[in-house]
């Protein structure tokens, strides 16, 4: 195929898809504030997003903190900066690894579930049925998931931050033999509230991105089981990519 045609087609596809996702995002925001408030649905989704993801996030954070301590110790030893490991772990986890890895794990778990569930509803005409019962599917299905994501992902990141730092502490003190008081001091000395808050702000955006993209993929699923499978895969891949890309821009903006 002609190169220009290829570039043209893919650029147009990309822009169209991005456009549709943004339209869905705008519609979702529009419906957030219109009654009824649907507390029950939101709580159900919060349990799904937050409570059920908790074990995964904790394990990820723990091992990340642990390996981070190990690696920075090795590296820093080369220029006699081993005492800074505590600081590095704290800053890396709160500013970067906590939000990003939590975002990615939750995308995989929750994003795929959202896309699969909504996709199945779409191909079995349940979403059409909602319209016929005078219920807007965006209000009923997407808004609770969206709100649950932006509330629970930052909360999960708080846990991730704490567990990650504890993981680093564990490895440094028990395995590498660092003085515990020194390590604790180093963790606190250079950690600012700003670090934690930028991390949580990123988490909020990641939650929004994951919910919007996954729900969009589910909603636009076509063609039966294969379509639902495709929607699920695309939801996870796109959410993950967008999280990683937006991570740079958000961080640069807050820098």
């Amino acid at each position: 195929m002609n190169l220009f045609r290829w570039i043209g087609i893919y650029s147009l596809r990309f822009i169209e898809e991005a456009g549709r996702i943004i339209i869905l995002f705008a519609q979702t925001l529009g419906w957030v504030f219109r009654p009824p408030l649907q507390g029950r649905e939101i709580l159900k989704q919060m349990e799904e997003v937050g409570v059920r993801s908790f074990p995964v996030v904790v394990i990820t954070a723990a091992f990340t903190g642990m390996v981070l301590a190990l690696q920075s110790f090795t590296g820093f030893k080369r220029f006699n900066a081993e005492s800074m490991v505590g600081t590095v772990v704290a800053l890396s986890v709160t500013r970067e690894l906590g939000p990003v890895l939590t975002g990615l794990m939750v995308s995989g778990r929750v994003g795929s579930a959202m896309a699969a569930e909504l996709g199945t509803m779409r191909v079995t005409e349940q979403i059409d049925a909602l319209y016929t019962l005078a219920t807007n599917p965006i209000k009923y299905l997407i808004v609770p998931r969206f709100l649950a994501a932006i509330i629970m992902v930052p909360i999960l990141v708080i846990f991730a931050d704490v567990i990650g730092i504890l993981g680093g502490y564990l490895v440094s003190v028990e395995i590498l033999g660092t003085n515990p008081t020194l390590y604790a001091r180093r963790t606190w000395d250079f950690l600012e509230m700003n670090d934690v808050f930028t991390g949580l702000l990123k988490a909020l955006f990641f939650g929004m991105i994951m919910a919007t993209i996954s729900c969009y993929q589910g909603f636009s699923a076509k063609g039966g089981a294969e379509g639902v499978g495709r929607a699920t895969t695309n939801a996870v891949v796109l959410s993950s990519l967008c999280i990683l890309i937006s991570n740079y821009f958000i961080t640069a903006f807050l820098f």
Partner: protein
């Protein structure tokens, strides 16, 4: 005296990619009447019915419901118009995460402020109307095909709509269950005085439930009449269809694009093959 026109479809066109599924459909349905639209698979019956209830927007033409043109309404006003309708989907389209009574009472949840117990009571009553007992707490996956359709019908009538749409109500059912559904459709018309539009290719069902039958072929309504008139039609296409003969003017060709059960409203689809996998 003839009853007023409830639904009027004027010169309706609908395209999917480059395929014209509806090409100038004209149809009138009177209040309280039972209209049956027949036609082959892929002839556009489901698309027509979805345009009437506003699930799809046509590309050209108008649809009037009680004199109000609906194809250019905003979503909020369209939502109000939809409250006059109840629809029975081909495969039930029950919400599989909810129990049967929650499905049936779904309309009540958002439009009234009844308690759970109240809604369950009303749902149970509607189910009994359709001959279903003691299934309120089951999940849709535990029901047989016939039961699913009846539950779906119960859900559609709970809000007491003025217009009922049936998408192939007897397809996939055994003859006895199919006849039971036919009986229910007639009962709905008589007891609830609804206007109904049924799409089907089951001629036995059509003759039993219709006041008038309309045949859709190649995107147009080619004939409308009472069951007697249709049976004695001089149009060879109609005769081929109602007698179920594979020989005749209608050729068995694969339609170049079968509309999927549910097509989201997307424009500019020509850049997509639908098989994108990242």
């Amino acid at each position: 005296m003839e009853s007023p026109i409830k639904i009027q479809v004027v010169d309706l066109y609908k395209f999917f990619r480059d395929n014209a599924v509806l090409r100038g459909v004209q149809l009138e349905v009177r209040q309280g009447e039972s209209m049956v639209v027949i036609g082959g698979s892929g002839s556009g019956k489901t698309v027509l019915i979805k345009c009437i209830i506003g699930l799809m927007r046509p590309d050209k033409g108008e649809i009037y419901v009680d004199g109000v043109e609906i194809t250019r309404l905003k979503e909020r006003q369209l939502s109000e118009v939809r409250k006059k309708f109840g629809m029975l989907f081909q495969w039930g389209a029950l919400f599989d995460s909810m129990t049967v009574w929650e499905n049936v009472g779904f309309g009540l949840r958002w439009q009234t402020h009844l308690s759970d117990a109240e809604m369950k009571r009303i749902a149970t009553k509607k189910l009994e109307l359709l001959g279903l007992r003691d299934i309120e707490d089951l999940m849709p996956s535990q029901l047989s095909g016939g039961m699913k359709k009846r539950v779906s019908l119960a859900r559609a009538i709970t809000m007491e709509p003025e217009i009922l749409l049936y998408d192939e109500p007897t397809t996939g059912l055994d003859p006895i269950m199919a006849d039971a559904i036919n009986g229910l459709i007639v009962e709905m018309k008589e007891k609830l005085e609804v206007t109904s539009i049924t799409i089907t290719h089951d001629m036995t069902s059509a003759y039993k439930i219709a006041d008038r039958i309309a045949m859709l072929c190649q995107g147009k309504i080619i004939e409308v009449g009472s069951p007697e008139e249709i049976k004695n039609s001089s149009n060879p296409i109609v005769q081929q269809f109602i007698q179920g003969k594979s020989e005749g003017p209608i050729k068995i060709i694969e339609p170049s694009h079968l509309p999927m059960p549910s097509q989201p409203r997307l424009r500019g689809e020509k850049y997509w093959t639908g098989k994108e996998h990242y």
